[in-house]
């Protein structure tokens, strides 16, 4: 495992994750692109991209509507690419490492948003007192997410590298392989049925 590459990848993820919510939202944080970029950094761009697209398909049923916090694609794409490159190059294991990491980060994201709720009150009080420094709060919010994502990726990458010791057991590998194969088909089916439902509703409205 190259520590330098791990650090650089984490920092790159920290930047890309900002596109998920706080900046632009032009889908730079989509798992397929993040997997491609991080994969390219660690020497496996094709595997990174395909891991990312698989995760993207699975996450497509989770929409960021209202206060709903979907699983984080940027973190998922990063961890899957890193785990593939540095922990046995076993595709299904890397896929699920990324897949579940996205959900774990969503839990952290909820906490971050709750913290920012306290900031919202502080900003209002400051403005009432004539102290307008929105740039400071914007920068603080971006730094908060950036640092959280970097720390999360570093911690859980190492966690999954350690978990990769179970890959020596064929039983574990077989379960992962079968589950990975089925999950991607299930994801494709979920999208197909989603659009089928939309088309059915359109016909019903007519």
């Amino acid at each position: 495992m190259d520590l330098y590459l791990l650090l650089v990848s984490s920092f790159l993820c920290g930047l890309l994750v900002l596109d998920n919510l706080q900046f632009a939202q032009v889908s730079l944080s989509r798992p397929s692109l993040v997997g491609l970029l991080i994969g390219w950094l660690v020497g496996s761009p094709i595997e990174g991209a395909s891991l990312g697209l698989g995760i993207e398909l699975c996450y497509s049923t989770f929409l960021p509507l209202g206060g709903n916090v979907p699983p984080n694609g940027a973190v998922a794409g990063t961890i899957s690419a890193l785990v593939f490159a540095f922990a046995g190059r076993y595709y299904p294991f890397a896929f699920f490492a990324g897949f579940f990491s996205g959900f774990l980060y969503a839990g952290l994201d909820v906490k971050l948003r709750q913290i920012r709720g306290e900031w919202s009150k502080i900003v209002e009080n400051e403005v009432s007192d004539g102290k307008i420094r929105l740039n400071f709060w914007m920068a603080k919010s971006l730094m908060q997410e950036n640092i959280s994502a970097v720390g999360f990726v570093l911690f859980f990458s190492v966690f999954f590298f350690a978990l990769a010791v179970f890959l020596r057991f064929a039983f574990f590998r077989d379960i992962l392989r079968m589950a990975h194969f089925m999950v991607l088909w299930a994801a494709l089916s979920a999208i197909l049925h989603k659009f089928a439902g939309y088309v059915k509703n359109d016909r019903y409205k007519k």
Binding site: S27, R116, F171, M182
Partner: protein
């Protein structure tokens, strides 16, 4: 008509509309930041500026790519408000501004969520998949091999390009359109036939997904029967069929895809355990 320099300023600031997103005020901090430069420009008096900032720190949430319509409209109304001399009319306009923000925010949240997150985003994923399948890369299905690295790398980049083009278009267009509306509570809702657009995207998404599913099934079928013993090839195809059937059954019960993954893991564990117990080596 809004001048280009201010429009560009609002456009780039609108990228931060979700910065500081929180459960208390939702997009309040971000929205206030977006319009802050404009407010500083139109309100000379410090107290009135403070009051205008507090107005925009109230709870606000909309689809971020559609926020341009609300931003432009709000800026236009704030400009008119700052030029208004009559106190009674000013109070009426302030109350009207709240109504405009609320009405447009919820309208564009509904349109934007359905359009951008519900259709455009998954469609761009499908486009990437299509590019890969078209270039012979179906490694993600456990069959075939990668042929063109350029297409594989280009797939995600092209998806991002399409999504970014659509999102940036609505952001830019919305600001100009919203500014011209100047207080109209149904601003931008007539920009296009939203329902017709959604219908077309629905149909396109369904057809593309169906073709990808069909093609992928065929590829896995061919690869399985070419490389595995017939019993294992049939088992693999049964896995495909059962996965296809499993997802909608679970999702229809208002469960998330995480439940589908859990079911898949459970099935895989039991299947592999049984195969090991009866002494059958798992072939793939």
């Amino acid at each position: 008509m809004i001048d280009t320099k201010n429009r560009i300023c609002l456009f780039f600031r609108s990228f931060f509309i979700q910065c500081g997103w929180n459960f208390e005020g939702l997009q309040n901090i971000g929205f206030c930041y977006v319009v802050s430069h404009w407010l500083e420009r139109v309100w000379g008096d410090e107290d009135k500026l403070k009051k205008s900032f507090l107005r925009h720190l109230e709870v606000f949430n909309t689809q971020p790519h559609m926020s341009g319509f609300i931003i432009g409209n709000v800026c236009s109304v704030e400009e008119m408000l700052s030029a208004e001399e009559d106190a009674a009319r000013k109070e009426k306009m302030e109350a009207g501004l709240k109504t405009i923000k609320k009405a447009l925010a919820s309208s564009f949240a509904s349109i934007g969520d359905r359009l951008i997150w519900g259709r455009i985003y998954p469609l761009t994923t499908i486009v990437c998949l299509l590019m890969w399948l078209g270039s012979g890369f179906y490694f993600w299905l456990g069959a075939g091999s990668s042929n063109s690295k350029l297409f594989v790398a280009g797939g995600p980049v092209f998806s991002v390009f399409i999504f970014a083009a659509v999102s940036l278009y609505f952001r830019w267009k919305g600001i100009g359109y919203g500014y011209k509306c100047a207080g109209n509570v149904s601003c931008g809702l007539d920009l296009m036939n939203w329902n017709k657009t959604l219908s077309r995207l629905n149909f396109a998404g369904f057809v593309l997904c169906f073709l990808i599913s069909l093609f992928s099934c065929w590829e896995v079928f061919e690869a399985a029967f070419a490389s595995l013993p017939p019993s294992w090839a049939i088992f693999k195809m049964l896995l495909v069929v059962s996965s296809f059937a499993l997802a909608p059954v679970i999702l229809k019960r208002k469960r998330t895809f995480l439940s589908v993954t859990g079911a898949v893991f459970g099935f895989s564990f039991v299947a592999v355990l049984i195969l090991r117990v009866v002494g059958v080596r798992v072939l793939w």
